[in-house]
Structure formats: structure tokens, C-alpha cells
């Protein structure tokens, strides 16, 4: 494959998605046609990204593409550009892969809905918007893509508009999402007025030497804009409403893809455009925001009684991990953060699909009404457990591998800088991880274990296509957890290296030597080291576990572990029923949102405070957004 044709692959992988969307609008009434187009488009997008893996990730190239071949002339980049460095490709691969899996799942999941062609159109628009955002080399195009993806996401949130709360959720999302988009537009305008270019590479060269109050204001505006897209605190209530109402396959995109685009924007903004991460105050800002999101959202999740809302809060909690780790400004920290971003996309996708499977079969996601589904849906249960273990950081699944790196990275940073704040982040991350486990034990007990309510006695396992999509994600959770070295070497470390090579990024786009001539001060270029103090080799651990398990199993079987326990219908007597202390067998499900009252009782003041705070009124949330913006502007003006 020569370089010339490779150059076109980024634009192809965006184009196929939009093309698919338009084709489905026109010819989408035919069921086979629209499924074929949707699958082909999403797969092609992934394929084009995968073809770039070798040159970008392994060989370290940066691919620049100018639409209409309008290359920069006279030192100014006027044309529309796409630029794919390892960071963009990392997000591009992640996005296109999950979009493809979500598309497989959608086919059977959406089969009972009305207006399915519109669903696929919006689905592909959303995917195309995110792809465009992460591959774009131009700030204004990023804004365009943010608009496309926000409106597609709003429309998809309200897609099941007959469902309770769907329109309300979409409206909230629309209001606060628009505040975010407006911030991005305003920030773009201010920056354009200051540096007279919209090209990311050129801006990265010009802005750091040109820090005025206006550019600082633009920083705050863009920062808040991307925070809204990632649903970081204080924008988290939107995510809960949106996920609660949206179809599961869309939740996968919103949590796995859309929030990542926010993180991508924040990285580009603070590491590239402003190169401000050398400042301790900037690191503090990101890490603080990440830790607060991580902790507040996990406690919010513990108080939820709806499966999908609970997952929504966890989604932001995990994004908090990513941001806290990325904000450390060490190569190891960024690598860990990106690894966790990838894992989050995989396991959260899996969990949302499992929630969707439960909704598909039972028609509800209320934790208080479900129970005992493991007997009816054994495959879904196992796949859900894989996701739950991954997110709670149980070895050897992927969540553990990346969280473990985050603990190391934050603690290492604490020791290096002597700043006790980073140590608190480590503790917060470790405790949050256990709280995550607690809330997934709650879900497992409330939905899959316990007793089956009467009305769900005829529930069946979900169709094969849905299980396939979940299976793909579950397998990926396990593989990325078992081979952390491969993942870091081929995916996250090149991306982390790209974050620290701003000069190469600029020169690739603007012609070599541009960065050196245009930049007043050389940007931060620390020695990129991925060393860590800890050891963890999951494959050896798994081998040992398997040997030990094999040994105990052989002993157990040889010792007639399950002797005389013949379970046949004839044999059924009171002996094989559950033990009720001599009482008559009654339906008594232990579960729901009060399962951990022993914990919640001690935190009752905190929880009632949070309960009052999250009023559910969109005016309040818009107010929070404005307050956050004001704080961000003040902070940026003071510290940047």
C-alpha cells in the first residue's frame, strides 16, 4: 500500500458513515438493504482505520490530508485538513470498532421499533460525527462535528419517544448540550480572531507564544465545551437521563464513544493547542475534576434504582479515572488513562448491551422489579458478569490492568512531586473501585440472582445476534486484560508518545521547520518513560489459577464432590427447595437500591444532600453549566 492511497483513508472512513446515512434515508424502507448498508458502512469505517494501524502506530507516521489538495501556502493553512497521528488513530480505532459492534446488536434489538430507517440514519450520523471529530485537523470542523453528533445524540435519546421521560431527557440534553456547543463555537471564534487560523497544527504553534486574556478566555470556553461532551461533573445528570431513555445500542455510543470525544478534545486542547500541561495548576485542574467526577458519580450510582441510570453514572465515574490519569502529564499516566478509556468503551458497551438485553426481554430496567433472571438468561448473566468484573477491576479482566496502571501512575506522580494531593487521588481511585464493585454486586443480586417474579416466568434468552455482539465485547475485555503489554506497546504508548510530540505534529502539517520558526518557546518535551514500580503478569497468574483450580477440581471429583445429589423431577421433595426456616415458601427478593443500607446509613447526610442537589430541573442544570463556565474562566485567567 503506497503512501498516496493511505492518505485518503481517514476521509474514507468518515465518508462511508455519512454516505450510509444518506443512502438509508433514501432507500431505507427495505429491511435487508438498510441492514446491509449499516453493517457495511460501519465495517468499512473500521477497516480503513485498521489499515492505518501499521504506518501510524508502528512506524510513527502522521498522516495529513488536505481536502481538495489545498495545502498551506505562505505560512497559512486555509484548507480543510484531516490529521491522523497516533492519538487520533487510537480514538478512531476505538470508535469505529464499537460502532460496528453496536450496529450488529442493533439489528435484532431494534427490530420491534417503529421508524427504524431513521434510527440507522441518526446512528450513522452520530458515528460519523465522532469519527470526524477525532480525525479532524481543524478546530472549526471539530465544532461542526460536535454539532452533528450532539443533535444526532439528542434525537436518538428521544427515539423511543413514547417511553416515560424520553422527551424530557432529550430536552435536558439539548439545552445543556447547546450551551456546550456554543462554548466551543465562541472559543473557536475568539481563537480565530487572535491567531487568524483554524488549523489545529498552526494554532498549536501560534497560541503558546500569544497568551492574552482573550486566548485564556477561549481556553475556558473550549474546556467547558468539551467537558459537556464528556459529561464530567457538573454535567453528569444529563448523562443519567439520556442513558435511561435511549435505546441500549445508543447508550453504548453515548458512553463509549461520545464521552471519549470529549476526552479527546480535552487532550488536544490542553496538550496541543495551549501546551499548558507543564503548569502544575493545569494538572491540578484536570486531576481534580477527574477525581471529583470519579467519586461523586460512583456514589450517585450506588443510590440508583434503575439499571441503565446506574450504568450511566458509572460511565462518568470511569471517565473521571481517565481524566485524572491523563491530567498527570506523565507518559505512563497518559498511557494508563488511554488504556482505561479503551477498556471503558469495551466493558461499558458490554454492560449497556446486557442492560438492553434485560430490557428487551422483560420490558423494564427497574432494579426493584427484576430478579432471578440468571435461570432464564444464563448467557446474558455470564456476559454481564464479565463486564461487571471488568469495570470493578477484578483480575484478570481489563479494568484491573488499566486501573492498576492508574494507581501506579498517580502514586508515582505523588512521590515525584511530593504533592500529597496526588496521593489522595490514588486513595480515591482505589476506594472508588471497591464502591464500583459494590454497586455491581447490587445489580447482579437485584437483576440476575435472587428470586424470579411471577410475570417473568416466560422470559427467554435474547436472540443470537445480540449475544454475539456481547460476546465480542466480552472476549475483547478478557484479551485486553490478559495482554496488557501488547495493548500498551501497540496502542496506548504510541498515542502517549504522540501527545508529547507536538513539534512533529505541527511540522507534519505545516511543513518541516515551521514549528521551530513560529514558536517562541519550545514546547514541553519530557523524556517519555513508561517505567512503573509494580509488577503484574496476568497470563502467569491465570496459568497458576488454572493449575490450582484443576488440582482442586480433580481432588473434588475423585472425592465424589457432589455425591447422591440426583436432581430429577421425581426426586423433588421439600429437600431440594430453598430453606425458609420452617416457614412456607414465599416470594422474597432481596435487592433493589437499598441493598447496602449498612453503607448508606452511615452516609445518609451525604446522600440526602446529593438527592436535594440533583433536582431534575433543567434550569438548575443549565445554571450549573453557567457557574462552571464562570469558574473556568476565572481559573483560566488567573493560572494560565
Amino acid at each position: 500500500m503506497n503512501m498516496l492511497s493511505l492518505q485518503h483513508f481517514p476521509i474514507y472512513s468518515i465518508m462511508v458513515l455519512f454516505l450510509g446515512a444518506f443512502l438509508i434515508v433514501i432507500f431505507g424502507q427495505n429491511k435487508v438493504f438498510r441492514h446491509t448498508v449499516a453493517l457495511l458502512a460501519t465495517f468499512a469505517s473500521f477497516f480503513f482505520m485498521a489499515m492505518l494501524f501499521k504506518p501510524v502506530m508502528l512506524e510513527g507516521q502522521t498522516i495529513a490530508y488536505w481536502l481538495g489538495n489545498r495545502v498551506p501556502a505562505g505560512g497559512y493553512a486555509i484548507g480543510i485538513a484531516l490529521e491522523v497521528d497516533a492519538l487520533s488513530l487510537f480514538f478512531g480505532l476505538l470508535v469505529s470498532c464499537v460502532v460496528f459492534v453496536a450496529c450488529i446488536y442493533s439489528i435484532q434489538y431494534m427490530s420491534h421499533d417503529d421508524n427504524v430507517p431513521q434510527y440507522y440514519t441518526l446512528f450513522l450520523m452520530l458515528a460519523g460525527g465522532v469519527m470526524g471529530l477525532v480525525l479532524s485537523g481543524d478546530l472549526f470542523n471539530m465544532f461542526i462535528m460536535v454539532e452533528i453528533l450532539t443533535f444526532a445524540a439528542v434525537a436518538l435519546t428521544a427515539f423511543r419517544n413514547t417511553a416515560n421521560g424520553a422527551l424530557e431527557a432529550a430536552f435536558k440534553y439539548l439545552v445543556v448540550g447547546c450551551i456546550g456547543s456554543t462554548c466551543i463555537l465562541a472559543g473557536t471564534i475568539v481563537l480565530y480572531a487572535q491567531v487568524h487560523t483554524l488549523n489545529l497544527a498552526q494554532m498549536s504553534a501560534l497560541i503558546p507564544g500569544n497568551l492574552s486574556s482573550a486566548t485564556k478566555l477561549a481556553f475556558a470556553l473550549l474546556f467547558i465545551g468539551f467537558c459537556t461532551k464528556a459529561f464530567l461533573v457538573p454535567f453528569h445528570p444529563l448523562a443519567a437521563d439520556a442513558h435511561g431513555a435511549a435505546p441500549a445500542s445508543i447508550s453504548v455510543l453515548i458512553s463509549g464513544v461520545l464521552t471519549k470525544s470529549g476526552i479527546y478534545g480535552l487532550i488536544r486542547l490542553s496538550y496541543f493547542l495551549f501546551q499548558s500541561m507543564a503548569l502544575g495548576t493545569m494538572q491540578f485542574w484536570l486531576v481534580f475534576l477527574g477525581s471529583v467526577s470519579m467519586f461523586v458519580c460512583v456514589t450517585m450510582a450506588l443510590a440508583q434504582h434503575d439499571f441503565k441510570r446506574l450504568l450511566a453514572f458509572h460511565s462518568i465515574s470511569q471517565i473521571g479515572y481517565v481524566l485524572a490519569s491523563v491530567g498527570l502529564c506523565t507518559a505512563f499516566g497518559i498511557s494508563a488513562g488511554l488504556y482505561h478509556a479503551m477498556n471503558h468503551t469495551l466493558f461499558k458497551g458490554l454492560l449497556f448491551l446486557a442492560a438492553g438485553a434485560v430490557l428487551h426481554e422483560t420490558g423494564t430496567t427497574d432494579l426493584g422489579k427484576l430478579g432471578g433472571l440468571s435461570k432464564k438468561m444464563p448467557h446474558t448473566t455470564v456476559l454481564f458478569l464479565v463486564g461487571a468484573f471488568s469495570i470493578s477491576g477484578i483480575p484478570p479482566f481489563n479494568g484491573f490492568a488499566s486501573k492498576w496502571m492508574i494507581y501506579q501512575a498517580t502514586y508515582q506522580r505523588a512521590v515525584e512531586t511530593g504533592n500529597i494531593g496526588f496521593l489522595l487521588v490514588t486513595i480515591c481511585a482505589l476506594v472508588t473501585s471497591t464502591l464500583t464493585l459494590a454497586s455491581f454486586v447490587k445489580v447482579t443480586q437485584s437483576v440476575f440472582f435472587g428470586q424470579l417474579p411471577k410475570e417473568y416466568e416466560n422470559v427467554k434468552e435474547v436472540p443470537f445476534g445480540m449475544r454475539l455482539a456481547m460476546g465480542i465485547l466480552a472476549a475483547m475485555c478478557l484479551v485486553t486484560g490478559l495482554l496488557p503489554n501488547m495493548v500498551t506497546r501497540y496502542l496506548t504508548e504510541p498515542a502517549a508518545r504522540a501527545v508529547f510530540s507536538v513539534v512533529d505534529y505541527i511540522n507534519n502539517m505545516m511543513g518541516s521547520g515551521y514549528a521551530q520558526s513560529a514558536m517562541a518557546a519550545q514546547p514541553l518535551n519530557p523524556d517519555v518513560s513508561f517505567a512503573s514500580a509494580g509488577v503484574w503478569s496476568p497470563v502467569s497468574w491465570l496459568c497458576l489459577l488454572m493449575i490450582a483450580l484443576l488440582a482442586v477440581t480433580i481432588v473434588a471429583i475423585a472425592g465424589k464432590y457432589d455425591r447422591v445429589s440426583i436432581k430429577t423431577p421425581e426426586n423433588r421433595s421439600g429437600k431440594y427447595d430453598l430453606f425458609y426456616g420452617g416457614e412456607e415458601t414465599v416470594y422474597s427478593q432481596v435487592g433493589g437500591d437499598d441493598l447496602f443500607w449498612g453503607f448508606k446509613h452511615n452516609w445518609r447526610h451525604y446522600f440526602s444532600f446529593m438527592h436535594e442537589l440533583h433536582s431534575g430541573v433543567v434550569n438548575d442544570y443549565a445554571l450549573w453549566a453557567v457557574v462552571a463556565l464562570a469558574l473556568a474562566i476565572v481559573y483560566a485567567l488567573i493560572v494560565l
Binding site: 432471578g372 435461570k375 458478569l385 477484578i394 483480575p395 484491573f400 492498576w404 494507581y407 501506579q408 508515582q412 512521590v415 500529597i420 496521593l423 490514588t426 486513595i427 482505589l430 476506594v431 471497591t434 464493585l437 459494590a438 454486586v441 447482579t444 443480586q445 440472582f449 435472587g450 428470586q451 514500580a533 509494580g534 509488577v535 503484574w536 503478569s537 497468574w541 497458576l544 489459577l545 493449575i547 490450582a548 483450580l549 488440582a551 482442586v552 473434588a556 465424589k560 464432590y561 457432589d562 455425591r563 445429589s565 436432581k567 423433588r572 431440594y576 427447595d577 430453598l578 430453606f579 425458609y580 422474597s588 427478593q589 432481596v590 447496602f596 443500607w597 449498612g598 453503607f599 452511615n602
Partner: protein, 339 residues
């Protein structure tokens, strides 16, 4: 190659793996029962009683409730036990570590969750309401112990890391090696609160009195074990005993590792060399470790068991997140400022 494989297999199956865990774990639990009985002026069972119990349970019929998934119900205890045995492989026995480059302290923290999870899944999958209540309490107990445990481990990592000049030390082998050269961490003033906190965590992690709300026999019929009988129940009881060994030996390695240095000096003083010295060192290591585990069991588990009554679950949580965490935090802050 084959020799290597046999060696590793021996590690897993005999020492410090399966057989070692089985013998010492049950012995520790027998000693604990005897001690508690003597403290309460009872005669108590013979020290070998847990062995008798285990083999008796293995001979009993296993009843699988009709509502339970057979595979999950039978496999969950085995996975929990295997997880614990593998965990024991990463905990050094003074100078000897079976596998030092597989897992560090943070991993061990998470591997400790696996037995608790296995019992939750095994019990929860039966659908018994007693198991549901037990599961809820077990999870809160785990949550309670997590914060102090995290603080203690970070304090030790920081202390050893600062002393060895690497800044950070997550490897348990390194922690023990440092202590063997420089004396036990328990001798350092700043580490005493952490050691006390860890001692208080031991009964919580092993689910013994007064922190046994999750298995309260008299109110929720052993919670998650309510539906278990026969050999699987025996395996759970065994896991419970092995966990006593894991926690106490972890304490020894974190805070009393310096004793290993004493053993080495003793062997050197005897003038032995080569294979004989190595064998004697390991033998002495094991004996000393066992004796220390017995003492720790007596102090942290038996004594507390004998004088306290069961706490309510919210009291357990409050106790760990206030008193014990504060102690651990004192150590962490002291270690942070290089004391």
C-alpha cells in the same frame, strides 16, 4: 525445562500452595477455636477438630437446591479456594518467594476480593433470601475493610520506597528484603499505627467475631452458606481457614519481615553452607512464620472473638472507616513526611 515445570507444580500443589495452606490453615483455625474456648472457660474442641469437620463434611451428601445453577453452585467454592491458594504463592516466606514477578501489593489487595466474590456468587445464585442478606452484608464488610487496607499498604509502600531510595516500592518481596536488611517495620515508630490498623482489619477480612454479620448463624443461618451442604460447604470452611493464614502471613511479611534476617544470621552462625544452609533456612522460615501466625491469630482473632459480641453491619462500616482508617492514615502521613 521439565525440572522447572515440576518445581512450579510443587510450589502450587505442596509448598507454599495447596497442601501447606490446607494443613496450616485448618491448624490455625483449630488453635483459634481452642483458645477462644479456654478464654471463655470452656474445654473446647481438640485442635484437630477442623480436620475432622472437613473430612466429615466431605463424606456428607451434597444437596443442590432445585433453584440453583448446578455448575455455578459447585464451582464457586472451588474457584474461591484456588484463588486463595494462588494468592498464597505471592506472599513471601521471609527469604523465599515462590513467584515474585507476577503480582505486587496492589494486585494482592484485589486478589483478596476473589474469595469473597466467589462466595457471593455461589450463594447469591441459589436465590435464597438468607443468601441475599448475607451477600449485602458481606459486600459492606469488604467495603469497610478496603479503605484501611489501602491506606496501610500505601503507607508501607511509601516507607520502604523512601528508605530504599526508589521512591516507591510495590513489590512484597522487596519489602521483605528491605526489612531483612534493616529490621522490621514494626520497630519503626511511624509504622506502629498502620500495624495496629492491619491487626484490626484481620478479623474483618476473615469474617470472625465481632465482624461476622455476613455469616451470622443465629440470625441469617450463615447467610450465603445457607443452602450449602456436604463437600462444597467443607471447601468454604477450608477457604475461611486459609484466609486466616493469608491475612496473618501478610501481616508478618509487611511488618515483621526483619525476623527473616535474624534467621539468616542464625544459619550463618551455625557455619553451614550450600544446600544444607538453604534447606535449614527455609525450614526455620516456615516454622517461625507458623508460630508468628499462631500468635497473630491469638491476638487479632481469638482474643477479640472471646471478649466481643457481634456488631451490626452499619457499626462495622463506621468502625473501619473512622477508627481503623484514622490509625492507618496517621501512618501514611508520617511516612509521607519521611518519619
Amino acid at each position: 525445562m521439565i525440572l522447572e515445570a515440576v518445581k512450579y507444580l510443587a510450589y502450587v500443589l505442596i509448598f507454599p500452595g495447596f497442601l501447606f495452606c490446607f494443613l496450616t490453615g485448618l491448624l490455625l483455625s483449630g488453635i483459634d477455636r481452642k483458645l477462644v474456648a479456654r478464654m471463655q472457660k470452656r474445654v473446647g474442641p481438640p485442635i484437630l477438630q477442623p480436620f475432622y469437620d472437613f473430612f466429615k463434611l466431605c463424606g456428607k451428601e451434597t444437596i443442590i437446591p432445585a433453584a440453583a445453577n448446578r455448575t455455578v453452585f459447585l464451582m464457586a467454592p472451588l474457584v474461591g479456594l484456588a484463588g486463595l491458594v494462588v494468592l498464597q504463592l505471592f506472599i513471601p516466606v521471609f527469604s523465599f518467594t515462590a513467584f515474585s514477578s507476577v503480582a505486587d501489593v496492589i494486585v494482592i489487595l484485589y486478589l483478596l476480593l476473589i474469595p469473597a466474590l466467589s462466595i457471593m456468587i455461589g450463594g447469591g445464585a441459589t436465590g435464597s433470601p438468607y443468601a441475599g442478606v448475607g451477600l449485602s452484608r458481606e459486600m459492606v464488610t469488604v467495603l469497610s475493610c478496603e479503605l484501611p487496607l489501602v491506606l496501610v499498604l500505601l503507607a508501607v509502600c511509601k516507607k520502604v520506597g523512601a528508605a530504599t531510595g526508589t521512591g516507591l516500592c510495590f513489590s512484597l518481596t522487596e519489602i521483605v528484603r528491605y526489612q531483612m536488611a534493616n529490621g522490621s517495620l514494626l520497630g519503626k515508630l511511624s509504622m506502629i499505627p498502620a500495624a495496629v490498623a492491619f491487626l484490626m482489619v484481620i478479623p474483618g477480612e476473615t469474617g470472625s467475631h465481632p465482624f461476622d454479620a455476613a455469616e451470622a448463624e443465629t440470625e441469617i443461618c450463615e447467610g450465603m452458606l445457607a443452602e450449602y451442604s456436604g463437600a462444597p460447604l467443607g471447601v468454604y470452611k477450608l477457604s475461611h481457614s486459609v484466609k486466616i493464614l493469608s491475612m496473618t502471613s501478610l501481616f508478618v511479611m509487611l511488618f515483621l519481615g526483619g525476623i527473616g534476617g535474624g534467621i539468616q544470621n542464625l544459619v550463618l552462625a551455625l557455619g553451614l553452607a550450600g544446600g544444607a544452609a538453604g534447606a535449614l533456612t527455609i525450614l526455620l522460615d516456615v516454622i517461625v512464620l507458623f508460630l508468628l501466625c499462631v500468635i497473630l491469630t491469638a491476638v487479632a482473632i481469638s482474643f477479640v472473638h472471646a471478649v466481643t459480641a457481634r456488631l451490626k453491619i452499619e457499626q462495622i462500616f463506621k468502625y473501619y472507616w473512622t477508627v481503623v482508617s484514622a490509625l492507618a492514615l496517621v501512618s501514611l502521613v508520617l511516612a509521607w513526611y519521611g518519619l
